[in-house]
Symmetry: C2
Subunit: 345 residues, 2 copies
C-alpha cells in the first residue's frame, strides 16, 4: 500500500517540473500538446489526485461556503438550500451544510471552519451568531467577515441579512382572519428564544389592536415550531373548553399538528375553527383540509443571500449591513372559512 501520489511524483514520471503539471491542471492552454499528453498519462498512471489542503493553504481560500442550518428535518429550509446551491455552484463554490441543532457549541465549531480558512464564507439560517464570533466582528470592523444571515435575523444585526418582513406577513395573515369575520383569534407562537417569534407576534398584536381588539395573554400560546408543540397546543385549547374563532400558527408544522389533534376530537377545520399557517411547506398542501398559509419566496431568499455573500467574499462591493426584504404573500386553501356570523345570515 503506497502513499498517495503528489504533484512531484507526476512531474517526475512525466519528466517535467511540478510547475508544468500544475499548469496542465489549471491553465492547460499554456502547455504544449505533447507535454500535456505526457502529464495526463502520468496522472493516470499514478492515480494522482490534488491535495486540497495544500492548495487551500497556498491559495488562502477554499472555494467552499458553509451553511448553518438549525434543523435539517424542517422542510422549510430545503428550498432555501436549493436556491443557495444554484447560485453557489454556478460560482464554482462547494456548499457544506452544518447542522447546528440550535446548539451554540456546534455553531461555533462550524464557524471556526470559516475563520480557519476551511470555508470562504458562511450563511446563517439559524438566527444566531455565537458571541465569540460577534466579538471578533466588532473588534475588527475593517476586516469584515463574509457572513450573511438568512431568513432569521440576528438579535444584533451586524452582518447583511436577507429575508421577509415577518411582522408584515403576520399582519397579513391576521388581517385575513379578521376579514373573514373572526374576532377571537389565538396566536400559536414559536419559541421565545427565536427572533421570528417576536416579529410575528408583534405583527399579530398590531393588527388586532388596529381592529380594536385586545390581545389578552390567553390568546397567545407557546410552541416551538415542531409538530408536537402544535398537537400540545390543540390539547390546551380543547382542555380550556372554549374554541376560538381562528388560530394563527407561526409555522406550518405546528398548524398541521394542531389540526390533526383537533380532528381526533371531532373538531372540524374550518367549520368549527379556522387555521392559518406560515411558511407554505410541501405538506401544507396535503393536509386535511389543505392549509391556508403565508408563502415565503424561499428559493429567491437563498439566491439573494448567496449573491450577497459572494460579493462580500469577492470584496469588490461594500454591501455594508444591507438588509434585503423580499415579499411574502398569502396562499388561500381550505383551512379558513368565513365566520358563522357571516354565513348564518
Amino acid at each position: 500500500m503506497n502513499k498517495r501520489a503528489t504533484i512531484g511524483d507526476v512531474a517526475q514520471l512525466a519528466g517535467v517540473s511540478t510547475a508544468t503539471v500544475s499548469r496542465v491542471l489549471h491553465t492547460p492552454e499554456l502547455v504544449s500538446d505533447s507535454t500535456r499528453k505526457a502529464v495526463h498519462s502520468a496522472i493516470n498512471k499514478t492515480n494522482y489526485t490534488l491535495n486540497l489542503a495544500a492548495r487551500n493553504l497556498r491559495q488562502q481560500r477554499s472555494n467552499a461556503i458553509v451553511v448553518l442550518v438549525p434543523d435539517i428535518g424542517n422542510t422549510f429550509f430545503s428550498e432555501i438550500l436549493a436556491g443557495i446551491e444554484r447560485v453557489a455552484s454556478s460560482a464554482g463554490q462547494t456548499i457544506l451544510i452544518g447542522h447546528t441543532a440550535h446548539d451554540q457549541l456546534r455553531e461555533e465549531k462550524y464557524l471556526n471552519n470559516l475563520l480557519n480558512s476551511q470555508a470562504d464564507g458562511a450563511l446563517l439560517l439559524n438566527g444566531h451568531l455565537p458571541d465569540s464570533v460577534a466579538a471578533k466582528i466588532r473588534e475588527t470592523p475593517g476586516r469584515r467577515l463574509p457572513i450573511v444571515s438568512v431568513s432569521e435575523a440576528l438579535a444584533d444585526q451586524i452582518v447583511p441579512h436577507v429575508g421577509i418582513d415577518n411582522a408584515g406577513a403576520a399582519a397579513l395573515a391576521t388581517q385575513y382572519l379578521l376579514d373573514h369575520g373572526h374576532r377571537h383569534i389565538v396566536h400559536l407562537r414559536g419559541p421565545a428564544s427565536n427572533i421570528l417569534t417576536g416579529q410575528r407576534t408583534s405583527g399579530f398584536a398590531r393588527t388586532m389592536k388596529a381592529a380594536g381588539l385586545q390581545v389578552s395573554p390567553d390568546m397567545l400560546l407557546d410552541g416551538d415550531f415542531t409538530i408536537e408543540s402544535g398537537i400540545a397546543a390543540a390539547a390546551v385549547l380543547i382542555a380550556a373548553g372554549l374554541m376560538p374563532d381562528a388560530v394563527f400558527c407561526a409555522n406550518d408544522e405546528m398548524a398541521i399538528g394542531l389540526m390533526s389533534r383537533l380532528a381526533e376530537h371531532g373538531i372540524r377545520v374550518p367549520q368549527d375553527v379556522s387555521v392559518i399557517g406560515f411558511d407554505d411547506i410541501a405538506f401544507s398542501r396535503t393536509a386535511q383540509p389543505a392549509l391556508t398559509t403565508i408563502h415565503q419566496p424561499r428559493a429567491e431568499i437563498g439566491e439573494r443571500a448567496t449573491q450577497t455573500l459572494l460579493e462580500l467574499i469577492a470584496g469588490d462591493t461594500d454591501v455594508g449591513n444591507l438588509i434585503t426584504t423580499l415579499p411574502a404573500d398569502l396562499v388561500e386553501r381550505a383551512s379558513v372559512a368565513p365566520h358563522q356570523r357571516f354565513t348564518a345570515t
Copy 2:
C-alpha cells in the same frame, strides 16, 4: 487591515517558539504555567485562529466526514443524520452534508473532497457511487477508501453497508394487508433508478405470489418518492374507475400525497381503500387518517454506519464489505382497515 495572525506572530509576541505555541494548543500539560499564560495572552492580543488548511496538510487528515444526501428536503434523512452526528461528534469529527440532488456531478464533487483530503471519510445516503470513484476502489484493493453506504445500497456493493432488509419489510407490509383480507393490492413504487425500488417491489411480489395472487402490470404504479407523484398516482387510480382494496406505497410522502387526492374525490381511507406507507416520517402521524407504515430505526442506522466508517478510517479493524441489517417493523395507525368481506358478515 492587517493579515491574519499566524502561529509565528503569536510566538514572537509571547517570546517563545512556534513549537511551544502549538503545544499550548494541543498538549498544554507539557508547557509551564507561566509560558502558557503568556501564550494565551498573545493569542488574544493577536486574534489568532488556527489555519486548518495548514494543519490538515501537515497531519494528513481533516477530522471531517462528508455525508452525501440525495434530497435534503426529504424528512426521512434527518433522523439518520441525527444518529450520524451523535456518533461523529463524540469522536471529534465534524460532519459536512453534501446535497447531491441525485446529480452525479455533485456526487463526484463532494467525494473529491474525500479523495483530496478535505474529509477523512464519506457516508453515502444516495445509493450511488460515481464510476470514477468505484473504479478507483477496484484498482487499489489494498488501499480501502473509507466509504460506507447507508440505507440505500449500491448496485455494486463494494463498500460496507448499513440498512434494513427492504424486501423483508415490504413483505411485512404486504402480508399485513393480506391479513386484513385485501386481495386487490396495488404497489406504488419508487423510481426505477433507485435500488430500493427493486428490493421493495420484489418483497411485495413474492408475498403476493405466496398468497396465490398474481401481480399483473396494472397493479404496479410508478412514482418517484415525492408527494406530487403520490397525487398523480391517485389520479391514475381514480381515472381507471376501479379502486383497489389497498395501496402499498414505497414511501410515506407518496402515501400522503395519494391520500390527499383521494380525499378530494370523496374516497375514504380506510373505508373505501386501505393505504400503507414506508419510512414512518413525522408527518405520517398527523396525516388524515394517521398513516400505517413501516418504521425504520433511522437513528440507529446512522449510528451504526458512522461507527463502521470510523473503524474504516482508523484502519484498525478490517470491516471488509460488512453488511449490517437492522430490523424494521410495522406501526399500526388508522389507514388500514379490515376488508368489507371481513366486517360485512
